[in-house]
Amino acid sequence: MKKIKVNQEICTTIPMGSQHVALPEPVKLVFDTENEVVKRVSFDVSYVHRGIEKSLTTMYDFKKAPYVVGRICGICAIAHSIACTVALERSIGIDGEVPDRVRAVRMIGLELDRLQSHFLINGHLAEVCGYENIFMHLWRCREFILDTADMLFGNRVQYDVVCVGGVNRDIDEKTGTRISEALEEIEESIGFMEEVFTRDKTLVKRLEGLGVVSKDKAFEYGLVGPSARASGVKTDCRIEDDWGMYRDFGLEIITMTEGDALARCLVRVLECFESVRMIREALDSTSPGEEIQLRVRDNPKKDAVCRNEAPRGELFYYIRGTGKKIPGRVKIRTPTFANIPILPHVMIGVRYNDVPPLLMSFDPCLSCTGR
């Protein structure tokens, strides 16, 4: 007769993924739960590895690299392009010569991207809380931001506007004024978003006190981006590694001290206001018609790094220049990669029905992680 092994601990194992309604991208999380309270978590992120790092060192020369890395992520494409471009420019040695207009256009692109990304994730957060109406509304506002980007760069998500040594497309005067008008409307919808996440009782009840990360833990686990700032870590790569004009414009680092899901959400909301201000400053700082592309003669020859603030946090690029057209090594450390190690720790002891909002409040982007 077959012996049946009796397990002393009786857990219900709930798999979440690799495909799940609450997940925008494939990741597998397996929860062992007791009465819907999570006891153990294990995860697997390997579903979307596409070998982009390998292709950059074998197939594409460095001028194509910004467009290739733009395909890593559908939401923060331009953050990847900019980080790659800046690292390449530093490797070539032309980063000091990049004109101000180029910096301004890049900043506008990145901040618009940040706006739509924050709207996306906050809407999704409302959706996984079971609040369909807010989800619909926030994504409708996001559509408007995408249309604005379309007007500027000719594309809604994959702008592909950044190239080594400059940008491909300038913003003319007429579009500039139309953008200023659009920004007012965007600001209104951010105001609406702020109101929702501070006033709506059920939403606040769901998110408040959920998945608290203390400041020490945030340092210890090396959190990045809005997740770190919500715990009171004053870090922002736009200030620390300024490739644009963020320090000149006096970018304010928004921090909160609560460190719960609601704080992470609100940090993103408040950052949206700051992004709008940055776009305005960038539009006013320079006038169109200046030179927008440098002529690049050399190949990347030095080792160079760039830390760029993607919507999800610190994006790290390392490029090893070998003097050839194809770099020797491109290392990409994406923000989600830094935010995942803490997840098992904050998820233990949480009820299963709170897991999707908790996961979404960290704003995971698995395509970035897989690369």
């Binding site: 709930i14 798999p15 609040y131 109406n133 509304h137 769901r206 029905n353």
Partner: protein, 275 residues
Amino acid sequence: MKTLLILVFSPVIGGLIEGAFRKVNARMQTRVGPPIVQPFYDLLKLLQKRPILINNYHVLMAYAHFVLMATALATFLLGGDLLLVIFFHGMSLAFLAMGAYSLRSAYSHVGATRELFHILAVEPPLLLIAVNIYMNTGTFLLSDVFETQRLVKIMPFSFLALIASLPGMLRRSPFDVSEAHQEIIGGPEIEYSGPFYAPIYLAKWLEKVLVAAFIGIFFLGSPLIVVAIATSFILVLALDNSTARLSYWDMVKITWVVALPLVGANIFLNAQGVL
């Protein structure tokens, strides 16, 4: 003849109510929404799909769920015993949970447990409302209850209690915990597909008719009966669109804390002869 008419028409009315639910819900979210007969298209589509059988017991429970829900509705409309109606309704939900427990699916299990919590949250207020109706009419037999006029005048608080337990009954946010699309993807219903999902889908329509009829009791003989039912449903939808989902424990707590004292107050006032 009357029996036959009721049996044929109640699913049709249920489908239309379901369609109207979707339409109004979509309008509240500033979407266009599907046509009002969309549920019938869905049902036809479900029946045409390839059947995938997981185990016999599982499917049997789906049919048991449907049959008991239909029995509850028929008992109600044909003037049976009110307690039996509530009993059949609870039994039907329990069968759904039992079917879900018969599988080795984590979502199904979690959903089934939550479905039982639904019964726990909703049935006590319903039973107390039935008791209150008995106090005022002297009978549990619905055919006799139907002859009374405008119960809402003497049972306003019981009516409010019914409204308060509606989100739980109709599985609407904030109390849509057993379906919880983003957590357990439909819960007890997740493993049903195609023609085996059809009875559950139909049972949902019937449940809506049952709820509508239950609201109707309070407004018998009043011209406002349709308006009252529609207003209650729209109220539920408005609540659905302005709240996030709460946990199952919150559902039980809030439904009880709101609904039970309301019915209790009504019973007390009736006993004192105030109302």
